[in-house]
């Protein structure tokens, strides 16, 4: 009989990979499973922002903490992870979007995150290709971008080097008390189980409040210098917040290669990955409104991906009561890349009984949540 690992982690996206590393570093033996290969799911389709967000105080606390953890992690990752601290420039079309921004700067500062208001003239100095006539911007210089599948690969390699057993291409189809079932019909004993299977987590835990929220992305040819920082319109906050209807917002990232990665869209259509050309059109119009030069870039390809969304926009991190020793790490919506290291720390603290680095209660999976009335099958 093979030994039973202390912890079985299901899903080697960035969240599962970071969790496996954290557990292995804590001295636990780890089995890590992925249905395809590390970073092949939502991680492989993601933009890869490392971003501080403050939709709620709990979101701010976790993004700020996790961004700090990225700072520690980044220097040890290979070049292919393409980590660039390009900052985020939140573009305001109307003065009212900047109302209350002073309070946000104060809140960011309380978490050690620098942020400032940038007047239009300085925005145009920093980003000459941004359209004229903006009301200004909110500048967060410490944000960054990365190439998520390469990070997932590097972290899984690290976990393996620390002794974790990596089972790539082995799909877990069900979980039972201290046991997992695989697609090939075999069963494996398990100690603690961490479900980090992203949008597929409800297939293992029926009733888990996670739905796939589809997004489109477009990558362009190489246009070095056309955009320097990550450009997001303030309207993105509304787009990301409302769970019901389809929405788009301008979200443009400069990549290490000189390419632009253009998002973002959000819609609830189940796992239908086909391109919605109406929504895509609206998304590109939005990008071109803020950066007209986007129109002259050449489009290499478009793809879709699914964010694991929850009803209250906060992830599910912690113990789940349906089985003994069952832990959940999913529901990060569009912030899974940013939140992976912070999530890993909370899970490791929970399993080892060590003190958590931040208050974990806002992310407890069995917290009271609004029902997901807009959820679709």
């Amino acid at each position: 009989m093979a030994r039973t690992a202390d912890v079985t982690v299901i899903g080697a996206g960035l969240v599962g990979a970071a969790t496996a590393v954290g557990l292995a570093e804590a001295g636990l033996s780890v089995d890590l499973y992925d249905a395809e290969f590390p970073g092949s799911g939502s991680t492989g389709a993601a933009m890869g922002h490392l971003i501080t967000m403050d939709d709620t105080p709990a979101q701010l606390a976790l993004t700020a903490y996790s961004c700090q953890r990225w700072r520690v992690l980044a220097p040890s990752l290979p070049e292919a992870c393409e980590i660039d601290y390009c900052g985020t420039l939140w573009l305001a079309s109307h003065p009212e979007e900047l109302v209350g921004v002073r309070d946000r700067i104060t809140a960011f500062a309380a978490h050690g995150v620098r942020a400032e208001v940038m007047e239009e003239r300085r925005v145009r100095e920093q980003e000459p290709n941004v359209c004229p006539g903006l009301a200004g911007a909110f500048w967060v210089p410490d944000d960054g971008v990365c190439y998520p599948p390469a990070v997932a690969r590097a972290l899984v390699d690290r976990a393996a080097a620390l002794g974790a057993a990596v089972h790539s291409g082995e799909r877990v189809t069900a979980i039972a008390p201290h046991e997992i079932h695989l697609a090939n019909g075999s069963r494996r004993p398990a100690g603690a189980i961490v479900v980090a299977a992203g949008v597929h987590s409800p297939e293992l835990i029926p009733g888990l409040p996670v739905v796939p929220r589809k997004g489109h992305l477009v990558i362009t040819d190489r246009q070095p210098g056309l955009v320097r920082s990550q450009l997001i319109e303030f309207g993105y906050l509304h787009s990301a917040h409302a769970l019901g209807s389809a929405s788009v917002a301008c979200n443009i990232q400069p990549r290490r290669t000189g390419q632009l990665l253009i998002g973002s869209s959000r819609e609830l259509v189940g796992f239908d990955g086909r391109i919605n050309r109406v929504l895509l059109n609206a998304m590109l119009e939005r990008a071109a409104k803020f950066v007209p030069a986007v129109n002259s870039t050449r489009v290499l390809r478009t793809w879709t991906g699914f964010r694991p969304a929850t009803p209250d926009k906060l992830p599910l991190i912690g113990r789940w009561p349906s089985l003994p020793d069952l832990w959940i790490a999913t529901g990060h919506e569009g912030l899974g890349i940013t939140l992976a290291p912070g999530t890993a720390d909370l899970i490791v603290a929970g399993i080892t009984g060590r003190p958590a680095p931040i208050d974990p209660s806002p992310y407890a999976p069995d917290r009271t949540m609004p029902t997901m009335t807009t959820a679709v099958a």
Binding site: P149, T297, V299, L300, R301, T302
Partner: protein, 424 residues
Amino acid sequence: MRRVRHADVVVIGAGPAGLAAASAAAERGRSVLLVDQGLRPGGQIWRHRDEQALPSAARRLMARARNAGVKLVSGCRLVDAGSPNELVIDFRGRIDRHQTDAVIIATGARERFIPFPGWTLPGVTGIGGLQALLKGGLPVADTRIVLAGSGPLLLSVAAAVAQAGGRVQLVGEQAGAAALRRFAIRVLRDPAKLRQAISYRWACRSAPFRTDTWAVRAHGDGRLQSVEVSERGHLRSIRCDWLGIGSGLVPNTDLGQLLQCQVEHGAIAVDALQATSVAGVWAVGECTGVKGDEAATIEGEIAGRAAAGDAAGAGSTALQAARDSGRRFGRLLEETFAPRPEVLALATPDTILCRCEDVPMRSVDPGWTPRQAKLWARVGMGVCQGAVCGPSCTALFGWSANTVRPPLGNPSCGEWKSGLDSAD
């Protein structure tokens, strides 16, 4: 603003297959739009500047399309299709949408390259690419040229080089002498192919032709200076200004994949009437399997008739027999000129596999899936979207065809956007 237009039948590609398909459909009273990337019709095989210089079969087919009322639009390409009935076409920078009842895919083939050290040096080019350069007026008089590849294209390009005054140092065919003899016996039974082969060989008669011969390494400081070849088991170095390479042709399946057509063994799968797995979509010529211009013309004829509702005409015994014969020839081509193991083993860990993204062989594990190679090593993520390295990877690692994501052919964001549906 974009315009929405209608044509009963839209044919993509004006090579032999597309010209025949468009003509057959138009002669049956259908309105036919023939969309072609080239500046003039004819496809790669009949690329020309002066129509009078073309073979008579080509001139006849072009005249037939004109007389039948086919609307040919040159320098245009299909960039996206939300469904087979809704095509987004780039008319030299202006985007139009075309509604249609029938699509005939005639997108031809492209060259396959098996990487070897130095294959990305300037001066090294595809054999077909070299032919296109010659037709475009590349001066080669008194330059030294080595051709090392596989398939009938070798001889036709050698002839074109010789006629343009180039000095062909060597024509190397990687296929073995025995396989080539079997192929020659088949060609002997076909007077047209035999005449063509003889005329090509005559045109480049001073150039040595060697079987069991391939390029091992290209040398040069910034540009090609010489090539090391393995000639029947012996290595030798030849100084040259141009090296034409290529391991045969592979079908262009991108448009079929975009329209969700089934692809088998790297070609768009079709039935006896050239219908694909998707209703309203036919595919003809090299994109359904490489077999030459004569067979492609037959397939075009069948699909043009079928798409115009003339199933009886499309299924005629004579056409079907000719089509089957063409397919058999295609299979023989594939067997005869398949890359040999020694050629598949030429690349070293430093050899570039994906030239758009500068990915060397050592960055890739043959045990990966194609998607893993994309996400982990950027293979096929560049401007050509795997058009070049996709067939290399299939030959080297047995990987399935590259996934196709819209748009096709890198339109500008503004152009493409104008072809997408808007909410209003």
